[in-house]
Symmetry: C2
Subunit: 157 residues, 2 copies
DNA sequence: ACTGAAAAACCTCCGAC
DNA sequence: GTCGGAGGTTTTTCAGT
């Protein structure tokens, strides 16, 4: 044990957290810039990033795309409640083939899962709900997103 | 007008969609690779990516970080209901200073907003709820995430 | 674990088509 | 809109500390 002073770290020290913070903000940041920002040589940063990737602390890099411009302007949250309480809980596997579902969360509370979905239109949403109910034998509750004041802000590391 | 055959495009043709698809999957993909994957020269891809960024179709690049390893293992959804229906709707501005809030969605339905948050512990969640109610004068309904079967999958472009 | 240097790969700009 | 090439920059590796 080293700097585990009761803080918030899950095993990472300051420099690694700084690297994650920068990459969470700018996923295409060069190693050269990264090195300057965290006060380390290019090779040292490179080595640390590779280690963070192998540890699973860095889970991947993605570009964020405007839903409107790709013809998927409608976002919604869909809450799932099993209709047969005795059925085995393999809902994620039953649903993962539907590309409209971006995220799937298992949750505590009245409902069992929350899905975040993106579709082209209300009709597309209706069709997706039909597919979800058919694939997973669940009842659904849908909340349509009207606008997104902010999204995917980097966590405070 | 060109290929607007009633498809799903919001003004983008095949090559641009292919570029977005690749970058959504691998945000650090090099222009060289990108060019090979979509069948274009490096310079052509470079030019198209710049144009997609300027258009706002590409909104940014981020690394995805494992919440557990940075000491924020607890994710939750918080639904907001205004306590004073006559108050002006400036909730996002009132809440954006709280870094625990990753996303804020304005929604149709019983509640007005859905927040996605990340905190260190149940105590951290309790404190965040207190701050949200204080900053925005809302009542809250919280759904705790138990596990995340999948998240942020690239949309089907 | 970090540094510095060298080779390979990459990015960016430019003129031409 | 696309291409190929030139020059500067970045990535990646490696020996040394």
């Amino acid at each position: 044990m080293s700097d585990r002073t009761g803080g918030q770290s899950g095993d990472l020290e300051a420099t690694d957290r700084a690297i994650l913070r920068e990459l969470a903000q700018d996923g295409r940041c060069s190693f050269t810039d990264l090195g300057e920002r965290v006060g380390l040589s290019v090779s040292a940063v490179h080595q640390r990033v590779r280690r963070l990737e192998q540890r699973g602390a860095l889970r991947g890099y993605t570009a964020h795309i405007d839903g409107e411009q790709i013809g998927l302007p409608l976002t919604a949250f869909i809450s799932l409640t099993p209709t047969d309480p005795a059925a085995p809980d393999d809902y994620p596997q039953r649903l993962q083939h539907l590309p409209e579902i971006e995220s799937c969360y298992s949750v505590a509370g009245d409902e069992s899962y929350i899905l975040q979905v993106r579709v082209a239109s209300p009709l597309g949403l209706e069709e997706l709900l039909r597919q979800i109910r058919e694939a997973a034998k669940v009842s659904t509750r849908t909340t349509v997103v009207l606008s997104t004041p902010f999204e995917n802000r980097p966590p405070e590391i």
